[in-house]
Symmetry: none
Subunit: 199 residues, 4 copies
Amino acid sequence: MTQHPTPDERRPANRGPKAAAGNRAALVAAAREIYAEHGLDAPLSGIARRAGVGQGVLYRHFPDRDAIAAAVLEENVRQVERAAAAEGATLAGVLGVVTWHLAQSAAFIGLLHADGTSGRFHAHACARDLSDRVERALRRCLPDGHRLGAPDTPDDLMLAVAMVSGAVTGPTQEERERRALAAWRLLGITVGPVRPYEG
Amino acid sequence: MTQHPTPDERRPANRGPKAAAGNRAALVAAAREIYAEHGLDAPLSGIARRAGVGQGVLYRHFPDRDAIAAAVLEENVRQVERAAAAEGATLAGVLGVVTWHLAQSAAFIGLLHADGTSGRFHAHACARDLSDRVERALRRCLPDGHRLGAPDTPDDLMLAVAMVSGAVTGPTQEERERRALAAWRLLGITVGPVRPYEG
Amino acid sequence: MTQHPTPDERRPANRGPKAAAGNRAALVAAAREIYAEHGLDAPLSGIARRAGVGQGVLYRHFPDRDAIAAAVLEENVRQVERAAAAEGATLAGVLGVVTWHLAQSAAFIGLLHADGTSGRFHAHACARDLSDRVERALRRCLPDGHRLGAPDTPDDLMLAVAMVSGAVTGPTQEERERRALAAWRLLGITVGPVRPYEG
Amino acid sequence: MTQHPTPDERRPANRGPKAAAGNRAALVAAAREIYAEHGLDAPLSGIARRAGVGQGVLYRHFPDRDAIAAAVLEENVRQVERAAAAEGATLAGVLGVVTWHLAQSAAFIGLLHADGTSGRFHAHACARDLSDRVERALRRCLPDGHRLGAPDTPDDLMLAVAMVSGAVTGPTQEERERRALAAWRLLGITVGPVRPYEG
DNA sequence: AATGAATGAGGATTCATTCAT
DNA sequence: GATGAATGAATCCTCATTCAT
């Protein structure tokens, strides 16, 4: 009654249920780009637009703001976990993967700052969970006497990651990677090649 | 109040030109509090309200969103400069002041991340300028052979500050200070007492 | 579920044409419950969900919002008609059935208020028709000199029903029945036991 | 940043703070009309449009949906109270005023049905309060042995009003008044002239 | 110079309806 | 015939900014 769904006009085409999986993937990919460009507060409408779907589709797949952010991060975290679980994984190698993600997306950085102070990423429980998974993955790679390079406790690990995330600024991926590496160097921690984990 | 705009009541009185300076200070103070509580994205209306002035006054003093943020930071930066210029200033002492500001306000942290990527604080030029002033202040205190504790270049100074800012999370000032200190320790850099500079 | 559309899962299976009748009944039953709980403005999607069918099925059986409401009422009205046609039917007895339906579902009340003024139930013609059928059923039971208890015309019958419907408020079925009975009492009209007609 | 307030285009004119009181009145008047035409669920945007103001103004004056509805009813209720408090007030006279309001606006009817079942008018407390005020006003006019015409308790008063509200349907004010009067007659209760109270 | 009401664009979210499968 | 994903218009609400007073 209150809705006028453009009765007879041409609709832009309904690609059907088959598109569901593809749409979800497109949304996550779009969100990743948008987050990288505009941060976690970017309008959701932009994500839907870039994914080439209607707003409703976004809400069908992700009930709220945090769900889509979590989905984006889920993939990042999973990569870190796989990297840590791989045969012959080293702390340096996994940190390289972590570093790549830090440099690639503001979303990943936001994950580490989800303390509720800022308005972003409200799903504390969820953010906490993702953060914990990164921590567990990294600990698994700690050398036995766990020393990073300087004397340390396991807790220092995530602190170090947070510190590096603070150093990651700059307009380009290259610049951000450069600064991240400089940060690790300042911490006296060796990191492997900065790249995504293609497991 | 919203319910009954009471348009007939006496206007709170125009306190005249004399109030201008006081209003500006009140706005900056209010903004500082609001930023600390809600982050840099907080509604401007809340700042005006807390300052006890109309919205228009805010715009009279600060042409846009970034101007008020810059004004808040101006005071912080000025403190750092004064601390660095004081008789017998040491790098550790000034870093203590910097650390206090980092732990105290999200605004100050935002300053270091003003690369336009995130939605906050767009005034690059302005942010750059403030950031540079902090850098200059810190350099002035560098020991002659400038070594922080580990081998370093002067540029590492601001990188270190950025890194510590990344570590500063948590709901309370105490928690944030604790983490900031842990971060400096991890960098092997000694900092003096964490407190504002009351010059 | 929204989180993981699991597009690869087996579709719940197309139960074939045989299920059509069952689906229709399930939809009507679901609608009856939903209307009772949330009123006539409840989202259609909820009805389909509770019926355990897809949205499309709802639209196959009922072209629009009003059609499903009418279908729900159709059963109520039919009960009233059967009660009135039964051997030894009395006005009091039929009014008891009517009263039960009034207390049971907001939808039935809405029927009497379908004048287009409110946003609910626009199908005037349809509502009119249903309303007329109730009226005819009641008239058939009118005692010969048709007096309800006070002097009256046949038109007063439906007016009285509408009046009682106005009295039917309250969170529970019991409360609503209590008020309905009080209303009839105030009108000086005797009603039989308040219950559905199991013809 | 995310807002484009039509930078340089001509704004439709800001009639200034002086308009505040007028705007509030215009909003209430507009709401009264809209409610009468479309019921309490009508879009708020329509109210703002009819009042000739922006959406924001509506929200400035009325924080939520219920506030504007309450404001509309407030005037109705106040009229009833004044009518009851007037010199020589009679129950019949006050019921005439109540009846006029019932016939005039769906909003007033909704007040009596604010039991939370339907989605309308969520402010129970507020609705309750308004309803109670009507009740108190009517009781004040009850003849000493309180009999309405038939034996009754004071509680029957509001029940009777609710019943009449149920009878009030029809597309025109005249038709609705006609039915309301028929309803009172059926209850054996005498009402005075149906008109607003111009106190 | 101060006030704070007005403006209205924009973002979030919901849901009726269509339609590919 | 059934499924349920897709669509997008419409509504709610917020807030940056302007401007009459």
